[in-house]
Symmetry: C2
Subunit: 326 residues, 2 copies
């Protein structure tokens, strides 16, 4: 029996819980029986025997769970084999997720996280700690949501040297840019539209200034290219200064403009760049896309949904299966 | 120490041998030490302690290896842990690869194959035999070369129901169609060009009639969608009747024409189809591309090189690492 804890019970944590209910049979066929023994967020929790669906409903209704014990108390008190860590991203110091993940690893639990913060701040440290404690640190959901990247590079491209990885890592920016291109309207108007649709946040800084894409790029460089870089090593320019006129000039030459994150051995950068209109990275809407340059397999492209409750859950469930199937 | 046999020593087998030499350090870092203990083709072989590079050079020069013992004799006589089976594809009866693979599995060896024939003819039987004997049957290289598909679906999309898989599975057809589109020239002329460039075979039937794409589709349906289908279940139309006029009409409406292989629960077919010009499957040249429809991760696209010695070796080496890394 695999004992699971869920730490962080917002959209992502609830999505994982829903997937564990919906996909129970399929998952158990591949990795054997499991149960959720604890759920905790920043102010409440539930442990022991409880109905997973009822916990989701209760949290949605009351904004908290039954017990007032908080996440760190639960991590200390309860035994579990694997944790879904789904607390909000904080790229400055990685907290509170960083402390949660460290403590879980030290207790001997495998970690599946959707939280970029701890990995941006302390990837090498966490990986070393996981290796030392003989547990897995899985993070498919941190880069590109359901777009396959982490296990794709580690499994399908095992044996390859990864020369560079570049592409579109922020769906909000890509939506705004592709709408600006199509509607020939300036950034502020399209941003408002995106905010109305819930595609951009009320405070869009994190996305439109390229911070989110830069954070993902740090994880890609450290996790998939064996580099040792910090967030400060990424040269970042957002999309706020892109104009409809720039799109017009670009399109006359057969190009469009996209926010491209690129990790190379000698440089990490996020910036609006010209992309040939028939290039696979010239995608529209909220999709994510990556071009992975290798020495044997050549150039590989992947395109997929970079966000969404169900899509993020898909990535995290695939991590769970990967840990326990072998 | 992992003992490796290579059965079939043409372009693919030699590519694997070259990759094992070039990537020795990287591979051994991930799976521990290995050595090649036997190489055999339809008429010759070498076993024991030998220099891998010298075997490649000797085969290239003489067209055979040192010993006159043939593949099946070597499989019977020599002990090995894993075999790279890289004999030519034969979709009618799967031979000789089918007998080789069966015998290797029965002897307890893991199998990594690039050979579509045995899987098209007897996928379920081989998978059952492998399960019974506690060995792995790996076939990343049979579908789309270096384009990630098999492990992508099994690992990254674990937990998902695969609703359909469709796309471009034959680089030769895609080259011919994209050239016809661009040059506005009829099929026979572009075929000749492709033959001169070595992109199409002297007898192009296998590619242009859709047989190759159909074979790959059968592997996809059986291996990745849990179906139980035969080659005869695929409705196949090739590209020989596509005209420049058809491209003209299509392009006026914003479409191009590509040979699309599609596996759905209710239907398997390979046929020239209209694809919107800005759709990710509207790729040019010899690339392969797939759209994978899932219930949780949504729509995932992958694009990559579908053929080539080094690209095929990349896929087979990734299978080797996958078997032994866990």
């Amino acid at each position: 029996m695999i004992d699971i804890a869920i730490i962080g019970f917002g959209v992502v944590g609830q999505g994982v819980a829903e997937a564990l209910i919906e996909k129970k049979e399929l998952i158990e066929r591949r990795i054997g029986r499991f149960r959720v023994v604890a759920i905790a967020d920043s102010k409440s929790s539930v442990v022991g025997e409880f109905d997973l669906l009822k916990a989701i409903e209760y949290k949605r209704e009351k904004g908290k769970l039954w017990s007032d014990k908080k996440a760190m108390e639960i991590i200390e008190e309860i035994e579990f084999d694997v944790v879904f860590e789904a607390t909000p991203t904080n790229v400055r110091d990685g907290e509170p997720g960083l402390s949660y993940i460290k403590r879980c690893i030290e207790k001997g639990a495998n970690v599946i996280t959707s939280n970029k913060g701890p990995l941006v701040v302390a990837f090498k440290e966490l990986q070393k700690l996981a290796d030392k404690n003989g547990v897995k640190l899985m993070y498919e959901a941190t880069v590109g949501g359901a777009m396959p990247v982490v296990k794709l590079v580690k499994k399908n491209l095992a044996g390859n040297e990864i020369k560079s990885i570049k592409g579109i890592l922020n769906g909000t920016c890509n939506y705004i840019l592709s709408r600006m291109e199509k509607e020939k309207m300036p950034y502020p108007q399209i941003l408002s539209e995106a905010q109305e649709l819930g595609i951009a946040e009320a405070d869009p800084t994190y996305d439109v200034e390229g911070i989110d894409a830069g954070a993902k790029l740090v994880i890609i460089a450290n996790g998939l290219m064996g580099m040792n870089v910090k967030f400060e090593d990424v040269e970042i320019n957002g999309i706020t200064t892109v104009t409809p006129e720039a799109f017009e000039v670009a399109s006359q030459k057969g190009y469009t403009i996209r926010l491209i994150a690129e990790a190379r051995r000698d440089k990490l950068r996020v910036s609006p760049r010209l992309i040939s209109l028939n290039h696979p990275l010239a995608i529209d809407g909220t999709l994510n896309a990556l071009q992975i340059e290798t020495d044997m397999a050549g150039s590989i492209f992947v395109i997929g949904k970079g966000a969404g409750k169900r899509e993020t859950a898909s990535a995290m469930i695939s991590d769970l299966i990967d840990i326990y199937e072998n």
